[in-house]
Amino acid sequence: MRAAFALLRRDLGLTFRSGGGGLLGVAFFMLAALLIPLGVGPEGGALARIAAGVLWVCALLACLLTLDRLFQADLEDGALDQIALGPLPLEAAVLAKAAAHWLTTGLPLTVVAPVLGVMLSLPAQAQGTLVASLLIGTPALSLIGAVGAALTAGLRRGGLLLSVLVLPLYVPTLIFGAQAADRAATGLEPGTALLFLGAVTLLAAAVAPFAAAAALRVNLR
């Protein structure tokens, strides 16, 4: 447990220290969401209709953009060898690194989402649900993404392949997440969608560490 926290702290330190772009994911998220009204036009009704979906798609892309170096940097400089030889099972190391990724992308993204919601004239009664859906759903993005990042860690230009591998797996999270916020916006009960969203995240938490660790072991050979 202590080793996992040490790894988490190290990853957080590295993200903020070394041009790895601590909050660049959030900056991308805000810019991408900002482009939507410029493209669609400022008419409130049209924006409100698509706000929840747009924010979720932007969150997905922001997560994806920050994933490609999740394991690659450590594989390239040999740190992954040291982690694999450490006191922690590789599965737990994956979990710690995915947690660090979520803390630097998923969480800040959830925090700024209400501001963007206002900008996209998302109805006020949906704001809480939007935040809740992002809070429940974004961990799944980091976890599922970790599998793709582990698979493509050894490839020099793996970013595009990573997107192709991971985006289809993001579909359930996107559907239930956007659905929850959308239902709240139209005055319907969002509870079921949120429960399904939580189920997807739990499933990802149960499966992804093992899949990612298996992929890393192949990369370490």
């Binding site: 190290r10 330190g13 590295l14 450590d74 400089d77 040999g78 060898d81 030889l85 006191p87 050979r221």
Partner: protein, 224 residues
């Protein structure tokens, strides 16, 4: 404690890198691993670290079997590969303290290791200011932090100056005197003593595969 390898073989990407490798290293011994470039020294060290699977043969360490007890095995070895795992964004000291935390070792050990490798003056500098030799020393200093009995060293002296090589040879000697063992792939003399070396089997030494066609007197030219 004894590290024993019997008839080890390694295959990568469908190609046999080496086979029929056997040796034994007893606790307290430092052994040099010799062989030309491409003879599989690094691959052997990765196999012995439990990171890559052996294609054949077995290795044991104190009753542990490499193939069966991977988890326990990996907790006894330290690998200093030709990659230093130095993070340029961290300071020199942080590069060691993060591993000390990870391994649950006291942070004071980081300063001790820095001093041993003559890096105490740079402890607070960013690691990306370090020269190649200093980065290598920083990578080797991690060996003193993780505190494992078996050291697997892959070209540890590359880009080190003569003084640093001597320091490192002293560190290895201390580790062995304290009951550890070390296996180092190296092309230089680290003062391990006469005969303390393992030679990688040359590709020609491997037994011919049974599928090889029998000698043909026609092709051999024996028919005059």
């Amino acid at each position: 404690m004894e590290l024993v390898a019997q008839d080890l073989a390694c295959r990568r990407a469908g190609r046999t890198i080496f086979r029929g490798l056997g040796f034994a290293v007893r606790a307290g011994a430092a052994v040099a691993l010799r062989g030309p470039n491409g003879s599989g020294k690094s691959s052997l060290l990765r196999v012995l670290a439990g990171l890559a699977p052996a294609a054949a043969g077995r290795a044991t360490l104190d009753g542990l079997d490499l193939a069966r007890d991977g988890e326990a095995w990996r907790e006894r070895v330290a690998l200093a590969g030709h990659l230093d795992a130095v993070k340029p964004g961290f300071s020199v000291r942080e590069n060691l303290t993060c591993w000390a935390d990870f391994h649950g070792a006291p942070r004071a050990r980081a300063d001790m290791a820095l001093e041993r490798f003559g890096l105490e003056g740079r402890a607070d500098d960013p690691a990306h200011w370090c020269s190649a030799g200093q980065k290598r020393r920083l990578g080797l200093a991690r060996l003193l932090i993780v505190d494992r009995p078996v050291w697997l060293l892959d070209e540890p002296t590359v880009s080190l100056d003569a003084a640093s090589v001597a320091v490192f040879a002293g560190v290895v000697a201390e580790h062995c005197a304290a009951g550890g063992l070390a296996l180092a792939a190296t092309h230089v003399d680290l003062g391990f003593g006469e005969g303390a070396e393992v030679r990688m089997p040359a590709p020609g030494d491997a037994p011919a595969s049974p599928a090889a066609p029998a000698a043909d007197p026609f092709l051999g030219g024996d028919w005059g």
